[in-house]
């Protein structure tokens, strides 16, 4: 299982929610609302196993636990933006 590194952007509508974001390899910033309990202490988000890979460009296709604000479930992320779950803090 992998965890995606994200950064906290703002509080969500509910006190238990937070808006997080991350950058895709093409420079797009994706943002989504998650439950605060989803975030590890190192601000990572569980994304399961990759659903695709692009080894030439060192990218992984991951499915997020919630839809992004742009309506995406699956996004390409760089290989160094994820950590194995057992290595996450």
């Amino acid at each position: 299982m992998l965890r995606l590194k994200v950064r906290r952007i703002r509080d969500g509508l509910h006190p238990n929610e937070v808006v997080v974001g991350f950058d895709t390899p093409d420079g797009t910033q994706e943002t989504l609302v998650v439950d605060r309990r989803s975030l590890g202490s190192d601000d990572t988000l569980r994304v399961g196993y990759p659903v695709g890979s692009d080894q030439a460009n060192r990218r992984l296709l991951v499915e997020l636990p919630r839809e992004t604000m742009r309506g995406q479930w699956r996004v390409w992320v760089s290989g160094d933006s994820v950590v194995k779950e057992d290595e996450a803090a």
Binding site: R10, H14, P50, V51, G52, N57, R59, M69, W73
Partner: protein, 184 residues
């Protein structure tokens, strides 16, 4: 296949689903479990007279959460409840935290309760699916399509969760399943 009450309880016991706090025994029906309303709701602000606001979801800079933050106000449902008037719409949450574990062959749908539906209350706007891997309190889109105001109270049973067994495990639950895929 839809899980029965018995299968839902077994799935909870085995840690395949987390529902916290755990539902009371009276929350179950044969093929669903009721969830309750969190005290927090987001109410849409009234539009100022003479001002037209249009949302453009296709705009490249559109971010729905930021828009919603701007156009809504957080409210806490008091002991007197919250009166939802006809043709009004608020965002709410289940009081229960839900987690559908990634590798389980389960998905879920949140649906309304017929006792409230008959009054005109709906709890989602055509987006009822809860995918494997979801965790958090489920957001509800609550509207009153009826003819009379309806008083919503915190912790009232507001919706039902229907759990379904999927045919197989999703890609994201499989280790090493992606080796043959590429971006082309």
């Amino acid at each position: 296949m839809i899980l029965t009450d018995r299968e839902i309880k077994i799935a909870i016991e085995r840690g395949l689903i987390v529902i916290n706090p755990r539902p009371d025994s009276i929350a179950y029906a044969s093929t669903s479990v009721d969830l309750t309303l969190d005290p927090i709701i987001s109410e849409f602000k009234a539009q100022r007279g003479g001002v037209e606001t249009t949302i453009d979801p296709s705009n490249a800079n559109f971010k729905d959460e930021e828009v919603l933050t701007d156009i809504t106000e957080r409210q806490t449902i008091s002991d007197d409840g919250y009166v939802l008037h006809p043709q009004k719409f608020v965002l709410g949450w289940t009081a229960e935290y839900i987690n559908l574990i990634y590798h389980t062959r389960l998905a879920a749908r949140v649906e309304g309760k017929s006792s409230l539906s008959r009054l005109g209350i709906v709890v989602h706007m055509t987006a009822p699916t809860i995918h494997a891997g979801f965790d958090g309190q489920i957001r509800l889109e609550i509207a009153n399509h009826g003819f009379l105001p309806v008083r919503l109270r915190a912790r009232m049973r507001i919706c039902q969760l229907i759990l379904e067994q999927t045919l197989g495990t999703p890609d994201k639950g499989y280790h090493d399943q992606f080796s043959g895929q590429s971006s082309s």
